[in-house]
Symmetry: C2
Subunit: 390 residues, 2 copies
């Protein structure tokens, strides 16, 4: 175990019919809110009406800002910041999935700052304050509801960057699993891949080996995610499966998994973000592709990596194979098998990206990499990793 | 999964040589602190000097209140409250193990109240405010460093009661595993039993069955605790084993494990607390005794309980036994085997309590039970459970 600081002050309110509890929370943070949402899904599934009813009950005034897209973009974020400033709001309420939450975080930081919000993502500025954020989550996947991270795409420069700050932890996040049952099979699968990948990044890349707690935490959650994903796809209105997945996705990216593991990095997100920035690939789809190649490359890197993959296969997929190299191969096959069963792509061709596109991804990674700080992943390495995807 | 609220705002600073970071934290909470400690262990292991140096560096004034005993008592707590009021402190700093932290929480609540502090433990009063608490933990076991719970014994009435409140979460807890290497084999074992029992209470008593996440979380942590306890006993200065155990003990009782499992209760703590209140039994020792009998009674209660025990045995102790009843028996034997290996007692006679004493425990449980709210555990049931301990 390595030294760490863990501080996650977000209050989680979890369960069916909990959105009304927003009325008890907003008065703690002021009188007027900016309600940020996406392209209208919350108006169809009743979430919008519940949020509005809670705000009226609490006597919280609000302005509305909708239209956040999947892979949220900088131009729309800037418009939200302008509106938050103009309306002089005290807080931001995000109602939607991870993209809505991420853009809302950017609005919270940008509305309290003089500088352009993109400066936070490029490291040119640090926030001194941020508007308080409350969220009503309707898609479980990104973990944004219980962390200080946010990802925005600068659509002019094709840069998709993540950035995090303690000021951006939501004060309160309301998680009602019944709001997620309208999510279709395709995006349910991508959500599961996203949550599982969050757990795998620190699990596989961490520098420390005394990670007994963190390993079992990750393995238990991934096993649980694998257990419930096919149920969600087969029976979309299975509340229990949705509830288990929703809490698993939150626990997957709320800083517990990497605490104490020392240095770690996110190569699959690095590659996946470039794929999304260039081709609009859904985030989860880009991750199952990246992982399919990256794990093969990783397993060949050192004996230790193979052993970690063998442990993963044994504990997550019950693979009983004494030979480490073979056990590692079987672990990758088992994970790919899961991707295939839930119809998440595993190679660039699955999403229509040919060899030329693959090179574009590798070039974009090298272009964006100064931001990520993983210099090892240069253009050539990324291209060779992407060629291992199958 | 059942509905729940999870909110744990404690900031954890974990690692070797982290006590000095107290200097960055105290100025956030005021100018003067009450430094609460035990019977002098921190003066021997250097923790006291590090805390004082940090307070001097921060310019934080302080008064001192030492002498907290294991199983902290009400009279001493009241004296601490009096001193906190007289010295008009802004915050409390607890430096020590779980007992020191628990008494410090009582001082935080009592120093801000007009009523007697025991009224909080008996449910006669609710705190409106509490002094902020910062802790420097030197014994990993109770989880008090990351929750709002506190246990105090009223030595006049032989009542040992737990009580919890959101106001009592420490603001900051500093966990330096190197401070725990001076803990002897006996109390290291009791600490491990305590942490493991925290996890087992909600695991075995919860009403819900859709607890995939919580089950794997608990099983993973108990397995880890079992893995490192004998190492700590054999090689007390093994920093990594101490570090893994310290973080495991915190994660064992910080509200993650029971979140979403619905109603649950703490029968082993109920029985164990009475044993400690009457005979001064170390907390962990009382729990390994209680569990040895309670699990046998529990496994016979319903088919579901036997299946849960079989699952426990399979996932924690690798027991591959297809017959549920037999698998449950083997799980209990495996757990008892662990208690025996680390020399934690499993029957009342091990701590010199005879049949008459056993009945006293059963009577004390019935006397205290209105506080705990587990009416099922009347005198007769507790006596029969204690007779199953062997």
């Amino acid at each position: 175990m390595q030294s760490f600081t863990f501080h996650n002050p977000t209050k989680i309110i979890f369960g069916e019919n909990t959105i009304g509890k927003l009325a008890e929370e907003t008065p703690k943070y002021g009188k007027k809110a900016l309600l940020v949402s996406g392209k209208g899904a919350i108006k169809k599934n009743g979430v919008y009406d519940q949020v509005i009813a809670a705000l009226r009950q609490a006597g919280t005034e609000f302005a509305e800002f909708s239209g956040v897209q999947a892979n949220p973009v900088l131009s729309h974020t800037r418009a939200g910041i302008e509106l938050a400033k103009k309306e002089n709001v005290d807080m931001v309420i995000a109602a939607g999935g991870g993209s809505v939450l991420d853009e809302a975080k950017a609005i919270c930081a940008g509305a309290s700052a003089e500088n352009d919000v993109w400066d936070f993502y490029t490291g040119k500025a640090e926030p001194q304050s941020a508007l308080p954020l409350l969220t009503v989550l309707t898609v479980a996947a990104t973990g944004s509801e219980m962390n200080g991270g946010t990802v925005i795409t600068n659509e002019e420069t094709h840069e998709k960057y993540g950035w995090g700050h303690p000021l951006l932890f939501p004060k309160v996040s309301i998680l009602d699993p019944s709001t997620t049952i309208t999510l279709g099979a395709e995006y349910t699968a991508y959500a599961a891949v996203d949550a599982a990948t969050h757990l795998m990044e620190s699990y596989f890349t961490c520098e420390d080996t005394d990670t007994l707690i963190q390993d079992r935490y990750v393995e238990g959650l991934i096993r649980t995610i694998v257990d419930v994903t096919e149920t969600m796809i087969r029976t979309p209105d299975d509340y229990q499966a949705r509830a288990v997945f929703m809490w698993a996705a939150t626990l997957a990216w709320n800083n517990i998994a990497p605490s104490g593991v020392g240095h770690w990095c996110t190569p699959n997100h690095l590659i996946g973000h470039s794929m999304s920035a260039l081709f609009g690939t859904p985030h989860g789809a880009s991750l199952s592709i990246a992982l399919s190649g990256w794990l093969v490359w990783y397993s060949g890197e050192s004996g230790r990596n193979g052993a970690k993959l063998a442990q993963f296969g044994k504990r997550v997929f019950d693979i009983n194979e004494p030979v480490t190299v073979r056990a590692a191969e079987l672990a990758i096959e088992a994970l790919r098998g899961w991707f295939h069963r839930i119809h998440s792509p595993t190679k660039p061709a699955d999403i229509g990206v040919d060899d030329a596109g693959l090179l574009q991804v590798a070039e974009n990674v090298e272009f964006c990499n100064p931001h990520w700080g993983m210099p090892q992943y240069n253009k050539d390495l990324v291209a060779s990793i992407l060629k291992l995807c199958r």
